[in-house]
């Protein structure tokens, strides 16, 4: 693996793990973080989060990562799966 790639993967995996833990704790799931698939849907199906869970998730993402999400459909896109959340966080970090 090239150094760039390995750096990228390492950052990604760190954030991935952290987001999985937040989801696990928000949903009070009794599973290991790795049991949350990175592309699993969070709402409707998949993890089955509802609107009340979403409130807590958005607060956590703001508190832990400084990721601020409005109520718009575009913002909702960023929390469709763990990977989309990680994408949004990495994009935010890149911009800063």
């Amino acid at each position: 693996m090239t150094t760039d790639l390995s750096d990228y993967v390492a950052s990604r995996e760190a954030i991935l793990d952290h987001v999985r833990r937040i989801l696990r704790d928000t949903m009070k799931l009794k599973i290991e973080p790795q049991a949350i698939d990175p592309d699993a849907p969070l709402f409707g199906t998949g993890l089955g989060m509802d609107s009340v869970d979403a409130v807590e998730l958005v607060i956590q993402l703001d508190t832990v990562f400084g990721l601020q999400l409005s109520g718009s459909p575009e913002a909702f896109l960023k929390i469709r799966s763990v990977n989309t959340i990680v994408d949004a966080i990495m994009e935010m970090t890149d911009e800063s």
């Binding site: 693996m1 790639l5 993967v9 990604r12 990175p38 592309d39 699993a40 199906t45 998949g46 990977n83």
Partner: protein
Amino acid sequence: MSREDEYRAIRHSVALSRMDHVGLLRLVGDEVMEAVDAVCSGDLWVRDSRMLQTLILDDRGQPLADVYVCPDNDACFLLVEGITSEELSARLARHVDPDLDAELEDLRPDHELLSVHGPYAWDVLSRWLTPDIIGLPYLSFYRFDRGICFRAGKTGEYGYDLMLRSEDAEEVRGELLELVTSLDGAEVSLETLDLCALENGFFSVRHGSVEGLTPIELQLQWRVSTRKRFPGVAAIEERRARGIGRRLTHFVARDEVKSGDVLRGPEAPVGEVMTAAFSPSVGGVVGTALLDISVAHPGIDEFFASDRDSVSPIRTVSSPMLLNRSLLVDPRRQTYATRDGETDPPLWQGSLP
């Protein structure tokens, strides 16, 4: 109807299709949920009139069937892809206590499944069925005079599957087609539906080989219980303990890439292509790949598919990758006739490698 036209119907207005590939079964009795629990991999946390998507695995933990479990009072509907009703019956016989009060009925001989998909599918149904359809939550179902309406769908757009008695099916198809075409929609083929499913990250049990793969590699752990015993659980526990070597990852590519192509990185092979198809939204190929776990992440440009003749770079992406129109539509505020689609952002906001 060209593939492009069918695709446009699903993604921008509304589409009608026959779902002959879906098995329609019902279990009846006092202990149907125990019976379903015994053969399916997921925790059946699903209430009456709701639907839950789960799997049936073989003893090696490989997915055999993709199932919607739909409890309905003393019965349970099963919408099944991947195995026949005989095969399901055999599995029940093998894994379920014979004393349990649960009898399997195959509904296919007397029933058809017609589906309506698209950002304005609800518009068609609100006229054909009831305006209250906009209040029917995703993954729930209800009975109407001519059958049962399941709100599900694997395209990422609004989707309604209508289970009808065979004798009503032709008439209903005619009525729906008229409404669908009045909204600039079309009847579509299974191939186009499958393309949409691929774009939106829906697992297809009918595509790609799952040889040697468990839900852990396939990103389907959400359909697998960590608590109960079910066929395939031992294999999954063993794989979990060992750790997986590869994981399913989504990608886009500019050029022709096909299932089975080897994927290489700058230094070594990193995996292989599972499924691939051309996407009009992306303007290139979308697909799934099995990548080495150390690099199975979106956002990577270093890999390429190669065969004897060509080398095609791929870019791994997160799923779902489209800004589905259904997310932007508000059934309470607008219909297809009053829509304003001019200001919608593009369906795909990424770029090809």
